[in-house]
């Protein structure tokens, strides 16, 4: 039984770039998870590839959406957490001081990677409210996409088998087409498993298309990728 290759065409009036968690705690060597994700980020050249996607999208006026990850002090009152949630809370990942305060935010682990700020803070990029587990079920990403007539998503960001995969899965359930950019993401490698290899299997099983950054940049520029 061979796997089909559905492919996704980029109709620029209905397509957006969505990036999850382009934040220091994942992508900066000073981030609290660098010890487990740094190797994968370095291997994939993730920081640069996400930058190339931002640049290509902005150059082509393709809408860009960010789904960030923040925890507030009240979130530490949660009773039940999965393994990675427990770890994230233990290490203070994506912690902010308050939903309505940005004291200490600039340059913190929860802040954008410095080099992405000119793209994200251009007044056009839509920053959704934070997701609170891994997926966009509890934020306004799907609403924001629909309000702009977006039906197709080019997806990248961190981390591959957690928030990126969770966004792919939920967007598919919500009736969007999703192409995942496999080298503009990365994941934790721990003795319990290789998050990146895992994500590649599930991207291939479930997404409408799996592209490299080169292919995504071509598609954003209007060239055909991944024949049906």
């Amino acid at each position: 039984m061979a796997l089909p290759n559905p492919g996704m065409s980029v109709d620029r009036a209905r397509t957006a770039l969505v990036v999850t968690d382009p934040q220091n705690d994942f992508l900066s060597p000073k981030g609290v998870t660098w010890g487990v994700v740094g190797e994968s980020v370095t291997e994939n050249n993730t920081v640069e590839n996400i930058d190339r996607l931002f640049k290509a999208a902005k150059d082509s006026d393709l809408p860009v959406f960010i789904s960030p990850h923040y925890y507030y002090p009240t979130d530490h009152g949660w009773r039940a957490k999965g393994a990675l949630e427990a770890l994230m809370h233990e290490i203070g990942m994506f912690d902010r001081s308050d939903p309505l305060k940005v004291e200490g935010f600039a340059g913190s682990g929860a802040d954008w990677l410095e080099q992405y700020k000119s793209y994200i803070e251009d007044g056009k990029t839509v920053v959704a409210s934070p997701h609170k587990v891994f997926g966009p079920e509890s934020n306004d990403l799907a609403l924001q996409l629909r309000k702009r007539g977006v039906e197709k998503v080019i997806l990248a960001g961190m981390s591959a088998n957690l928030c990126v995969e969770a966004h792919m899965r939920e967007l598919l359930e919500q009736g969007f087409e999703v192409a995942v950019v496999k080298d503009a993401t990365a994941a934790a490698k721990v003795p319990e498993g290789d998050g990146y290899q895992t994500a590649l299997v599930n991207f291939r099983f479930m997404a409408n298309a799996v592209w490299t950054t080169d292919e995504a940049v071509q598609a954003i520029a209007g060239q055909t990728v991944g024949a049906k």
């Binding site: 559905p6 609290v32 999965g82 939920e170 359930e173």
Partner: protein, 248 residues
């Protein structure tokens, strides 16, 4: 400040490592008993019967895990200990063929006619079909107590009434099993977590498709370990159901 945090990570990892040998990840556990339900996805012929349309891709994993027998053990133990049972099935109707786009496995499922039914309100040809329950599960599923939700249409319970049915019965902890590991089981795990449930996955009461270079079961095992509230074997789940029932 960031350096201090990084050092704290190392400290945390060291402590965890000391406690659990090679493990770096926390090992949350989930209590089983009050407010707990057994949820099974897709206990249907197309996945679990050698005559099912997906057997060529999933059969070896189903046999290795002894999935068919393990699912029956879970059903039997849940019924014996009054743990509520919920089934989230997978059906496609002729109108679903009007979908304009699908991901890879959706394309494949539609191509091979997986879980096809003749209509939303028709059971013509249903009995014994790929969409029907595995025969040995029928006594448990058709006992008048098991809740059968409306079908999921992609992989997760986003488009059916599973979450509502669980909440209507005060359930906030789910023991999850069924088919297939990295698709519907993992999609249910993820969505239930997002909806605020605790979820423990029964790792040998599921199985998944294998294609060259792509092992769905191994992928699921990594993600279960990363994100679930607990991992159980069938034997452990059965023991936990019985332990929770003592004194009732």
């Amino acid at each position: 400040m960031r350096l201090i945090k990084a050092t704290m990570v190392l400290a945390v990892l060291t402590v965890v490592t000391a406690r659990h040998g090679a493990a770096q990840l926390p090992e949350p556990t989930m209590a089983i008993g009050e407010r707990t339900a057994l949820v099974l996805t897709d206990p249907q012929n197309d996945f679990l019967s050698p005559d099912g349309v997906a057997w060529g891709a999933v059969g070896s994993s189903v046999e290795e895990n002894n999935t068919v027998e393990h699912l029956e053990m879970l059903l039997r133990a849940a019924k014996a200990t009054e743990i509520p049972v919920f089934i989230s099935p997978h059906y496609y109707y002729p109108t679903d063929r009007g979908w304009q786009f699908e991901g890879t496995l959706e394309v494949l499922m539609h191509k091979i006619g997986m879980f096809d039914r003749s209509g939303a309100l028709s059971v013509e040809g249903f009995e014994g079909s790929g969409a029907d329950w595995l025969p040995q599960y029928k006594a448990y599923i058709e006992d008048g107590h098991t809740v059968v939700t409306s079908p999921h249409k992609v992989y997760g319970p986003e488009a059916n009434d599973l979450v509502l049915q669980l909440r209507k019965r005060g359930i906030d902890r789910v023991v999850l099993a069924g088919m297939s590991a990295n698709l519907c089981v993992e999609a249910h795990l993820r969505e239930l977590l997002e909806q605020g449930f605790e979820v423990a996955v029964v790792t040998d009461a599921t199985a998944a498709a294998r294609f060259p270079g792509l092992d769905g079961y191994q992928a699921a095992m990594t993600n279960f370990r990363f994100i679930a509230n607990g991992l159980l074997t069938t034997e452990e789940a059965v023991a936990a159901f019985h332990a929770s029932h003592k004194g009732h």
